[in-house]
Amino acid sequence: MAEPVLELRNVSRRYRVSGEKSLFGKTFDAVRDVSLKVMPGETFGIVGESGCGKTTLARMIMCLERPSSGEIWLHGRRIDNLSESARRALRPRFQMVFQDSGSSLNPRKRVEDILREPMLYHHVGDAKQVDGRVDALMDMVGLPLEMKKRYPHEFSGGQRQRVCIARALSLNPDVLVLDEPVSALDVSVQAQILNLLRDLQEKMGLTYVFIGHGLGAVHYMSHQIAVMYMGRVVETGPSDTLFNRPAHPYTKALLDAAPTADDTLRNRKRVELSGEIEEADGEASCPLLPRCPFSRENCRHDGLTLKEADGRMTACARILELDGKQACGSTF
């Protein structure tokens, strides 16, 4: 089997909460003990609600943030403890595309200069080669060449996101971290960008880490998916397995909560979570315990370790036990 391009080993990130007066301060664990492997040429999708730690995870992969513990490996090389200069040298290998294309492009620069900048910074060829590459990039992401002299504000949201993708590709990276790349776009434009990303992946053999909250889009993009809740991965595996036969109550609840125009799904039996995100008591307790309709005494000390169940890894296989078909939950 191929080696993973990117591997996270027991990665955690703890923040100190400001404004606390006690001597040691209060801490918040944004990401807890996350391990995952991303295979070459594949898309690894990460889903979860706000505050689940998915963006912190992306920032750690990009070395914009150091893990409090754990290791991150890229191409068999540990990257989380690299010095500033070593990280900079490695930067062309992995790039990121953000949700807000408006604020991630310099408004005072023409698009051609925005695309040129990374190449000049990393000295990849002379001025002529760079200019040729700018044209090739514009073409690659489907932007007309005559638009390269324009400024970001003259572009629509979808076009700006194309510029961001072109910039991320300018140094020929092999890993692209996509943090909600279509969330800010109109529905009709989302499909254009998703298809563009898939075409580029196929053509260039790119590896993606795709973070999103639109479940349909994540499924459409990803080979593997990890579902996160309160900083932990609760279930991970092949995307079809996870989405068509979820094992964890949270995965099921997330899928069931997604509004759908599909008439056949509208009256499906759904798992509902009560209340809002809250911390469960006890270190070993399942994080979903306070909201889960299937909780039992056992969940107080078992619900953290991922175990193999029916082709995926999950912290809880309650939905499979209850049998998805005769289905748990109520109709809406």
Binding site: S188, N195, G216, H219, D240, A258, A261, D262, D263
Partner: protein
């Protein structure tokens, strides 16, 4: 039966002279008592300005340049500000997408909750406060009495939207206008709010005008739906009919451009080429034509007027039964 709200040939223009842009151009639809009408469209379709104009809340740049908005037969556009004021917040309630900025940050929830009731229903402080607690409890807030003493920033997004809903319902409106009520919320909270809205609607019998960009939300909540594109209504139908047998090319494209929950990587997603047109000057014929996969041999290109195609089903073109679009 008389419609509760009737929007008739509404026209809203932003800017003047050469820069004038008709954001809403001849929109007509009705909301019947007790029904949930969903208005779907992307940004720039005119759905939100239409809703804002009902409440008389258009920004200074935008103005109604034609048409009527009748509420229980009375034209809201020609009403004096005083009469409008007695309708707003009493007969018509509104909740917004922006839960951050829709509550006053320096007043307690209790103060904001009771303000409308004291003013419009002339309730005394104690009665208003008792009713506020009752309403908050009804929207699923535990220890409502405690929440009354809090400020907006102390509440989560889901809680703030519950407070907004409770506030909008305070004077028992006949019509609730909900502009993207769940867009800012996480999916599991979104479902809770949708269930709450549906429960309250059944219980009180009020009508809801639901504005959203998400066909899924319309599918879950609405009885009937209007699809808007580039400042016009393009299709109107009972929700089930719209979803199972869409007639307009845009509705069909929109449905196929959204990846379904269980669509895997195998199938390529249809993507609508191009972008929403600018709305300057006079636009003739079908506004979706240049992005439409069926435009080549289309019988409706030059005469794309709204027409009845079945019982309660209206559309500007009729592609029912056509094969699905491929990516």
């Amino acid at each position: 039966m008389e419609p509760l709200l009737q929007i008739d040939n509404l026209e809203i223009t932003f800017g003047r002279g050469k820069d004038a842009s008709r954001a809403v151009d001849g929109v007509s639809f009705c909301v019947w008592p007790g029904e949930v009408l969903g208005v779907v469209g992307e940004s720039g379709s005119g759905k939100s300005v239409t809703a804002l104009s009902v409440m008389g809340l258009l920004s200074r740049q935008g103005r109604v340049t034609g048409g009527k908005i009748l509420f229980q037969g009375k034209d809201l556009l020609t009403m004096t500000p005083e009469t409008l004021d007695t309708l707003r917040g009493v007969e018509i309630g509104m909740i917004f997408q922006d839960i951050m900025y829709s509550l006053n940050p320096v007043l307690t929830i209790g103060k904001q909750m009771t303000e409308g009731m004291r003013r419009h229903l002339r309730m005394d402080a104690a009665a208003a406060s008792a009713r506020a607690v009752e309403l908050l409890t009804r929207t699923g807030i535990r220890d409502a009495a405690q929440v009354m003493k809090k400020y907006p920033h102390q509440l989560s997004g889901g809680m703030r939207q519950r407070v907004m809903i409770a506030m909008a319902l305070a004077c028992r409106p006949k019509l609730l206008i909900a502009d993207e009520p769940t867009t800012a919320l996480d999916v599991t909270i979104q479902m809770q709010i949708m269930q709450l809205l549906r429960g309250l609607q059944r219980e009180t019998g009020m009508a809801i005008l639901l504005i959203t960009h998400d066909l899924g939300i319309v599918a879950e909540l609405a009885d009937r739906a209007v699809v808007m594109y580039a400042g016009q209504c393009v299709e109107e139908a009972p929700v089930h009919e719209l979803l199972t047998d869409p007639a307009h090319a845009y509705t069909r494209a929109l449905m196929q451009a959204v990846p379904g929950l269980h669509d895997s990587r195998e199938k390529r997603l249809y993507s609508i080429p191009g972008r929403v047109p600018e709305l300057y000057g006079d636009i003739r014929g079908c506004r979706f034509a240049e992005r439409c996969a069926y435009a080549a041999d289309c019988a409706y290109k030059n005469d794309a007027a709204m027409r009845q195609i079945a019982g309660k089903h209206y559309s500007r073109c009729d592609l029912r039964g056509e094969a699905t679009l491929l990516g």
